[in-house]
Structures are given as C-alpha cells and as structure tokens.
Amino acid sequence: MNPTLSELTVGQDLGSRSIEVTRTDLVKYAGASGDFNPIHWNDAFANGVGLPGVIAHGMFTMGAAVQLVTDWAGDPAAVVDFQTRFSKPVPVADTTGTPDAGAVIEVSGTVGALDADAGTARVDLTVVAGGQKVLMKAQAVVRLG
C-alpha cells in the first residue's frame, strides 16, 4: 500500500535500516558507476592522500541511503529531487575472506515537510556510520498521489 499525501504528518517516522558494506561492495560500485578513484579500493593510495584507509564512495552512501525512500514510496520514479552534503567519510575495513562487514551505515527517515499544492512530501534522512553523521541535509522530495 503506497503512502497518500493527505495521511502523512510532519515528523512521522518512516523506519530505519542497516546497510552492511564490504570492500567488494565498493569494487562493485566502482564498476557500476565508472568512478575508479583508488581511494575507494587501495589502502596505500588512500593513506598517501591523508585518509585513514579506503573509504566508501560518497555516491555509494547517497545511493544506498535513498532506497529507504524508494521502497516506502512504492515507485523509484516518485523521487523527483534528492540532495545531500557529504560531511564525513565512511572508512570501510578490509574484511575480505570473512563474513564480517567492513562498515555499517544506519539510515532512518522522517517526513520533513509536506506540500499539498505540489503533491510532494520531503523525506529527511539521518545517515550515520561509526557514530558520526556521514550525510548532512539528506533530503528526498517524493511525489505522491
């Protein structure tokens, strides 16, 4: 059952999810997106530019976080506007060969604003990894019936 604009209230909780990330996920994202910056797959290179190690692509985090919104909306095309600032990197530990995640990204969403004239709801996402907010002002505008 897809959400209806008139039944939503500002501040409403839209749930949460945990996204487990491994180095393999970053390699997959690099291939899928065409972003082969070595800071996302090579520790020595990442260290050389002052990072603690390999970090996730900001666009991986942004793209994975919005799935909470798409699934809630019922149609990926309902997301007509999506923006964020990248506030902190997400270091991903090398857990290759083990079942462990290299990082866990926690995503939760609330209704931030409603616009009855435009027929849209703004969903505000809170995205945290390692106890720090890694995205700021992560907002998705969703067109609803």
């Binding site: 899928a32 065409g34 910056n37 530019v49 666009m59 793209g63 798409t70 600032r85």
Partner: protein
C-alpha cells in the same frame, strides 16, 4: 598548480551519447543495494506506468561524472583529481530515466570559490534525452544534477 579562476561561467557542450541499457540499470541498482522490482523486472516497471526498467534516483551520476570529467581533465582547469573530495550532490528529475533512453549532458561551471590553498567548484549538468534516431526530434529535459567538489590545496 592552482585552480584557474576563469573557469566560472564556462560550459562544455553535450558530448557523446550515453545509452541507458537494462543490464546497466540492474547492475547499478544492485551496486547501491536497491531491491525495488521496477529496476529489475520490465513487467513490474510497466505496471507502474513506465515504458521500461526505471533507473535508481542516483543513476544520473554516471552521466554527470562523465560530463565533469571534461572539466577535470581539461589541462587548463588546474584540477588535480587525486585531491578532489565530493562535497555535495543534488539530483532534480524532470522525468524518470528508463532503459532505452539516449542521454547527453551539458556541463556548466556555476561557481569557483577559493578555499585555503584549494577551491570549491560547483558544476551543473543539464541532462537531456535525444531521439533514438539521430536528427529526428527535439531533445527532452530529463534531469539537472548539481555537484560541488573541493579541490584540496597543498597541506590540506
């Protein structure tokens, strides 16, 4: 090497066409851990009223970053890619991207601001769909993406 302050206001015209394929939509969707059937199953996408598989909300980054590459790789820009940090990103969708679309991006450099020894550069890609057969129709606005990158100066 310092950032060329004259970049502001510069535009790069639409270059090569990006053909949106079903398998690329599926691959990108898996890569961002998307599970919505409209990314994978043509019948599920059509049931929602779409002509073909629907791309995830951040799919346009593929086309936008190809456009950005024109600026970053421009020897005149002074940008060292290894010192680039992605600062913010926005996608405004004028209509959904679906498999079969043929996309082009026009890149505009909207802002260049010195920060320490580096610079914050804001770019905008206007993404259009062109007709499947070349020269047979007008282009259609699909998405506007804006992106800020921080090019760190030495010692930053």
């Amino acid at each position: 090497m310092t950032i060329n302050p004259d970049l502001q206001g510069r535009s790069y015209p639409a270059a090569e066409v990006y053909d949106v394929g079903r398998e690329k939509i599926r691959e990108f969707a898996r890569a961002v851990k998307a599970t919505h059937p409209a990314h994978f199953d043509v019948d599920a996408a059509k049931a929602l009223g779409h002509g073909d598989l629907v791309a995830p909300p951040t799919f346009a980054i593929i086309v936008a970053q190809r456009a950005d590459a024109q600026l970053i790789e421009d020897p005149d820009s002074g940008i060292d890619f290894s010192r680039v940090v992605h600062a913010d990103q926005r996608f405004v969708h004028h209509r959904p991207i679906v498999a079969g679309d043929r996309l082009v991006a026009e890149l505009h450099v909207d802002g260049v601001r010195a920060m320490g020894g580096g610079a914050m550069i804001t770019t905008r890609s206007e993404i259009f769909a062109v007709a499947v057969a070349p020269g047979t129709g007008a282009r259609e606005a699909v998405a506007t993406t804006t992106s800020s990158i921080l090019v760190r100066g030495e010692g930053q």
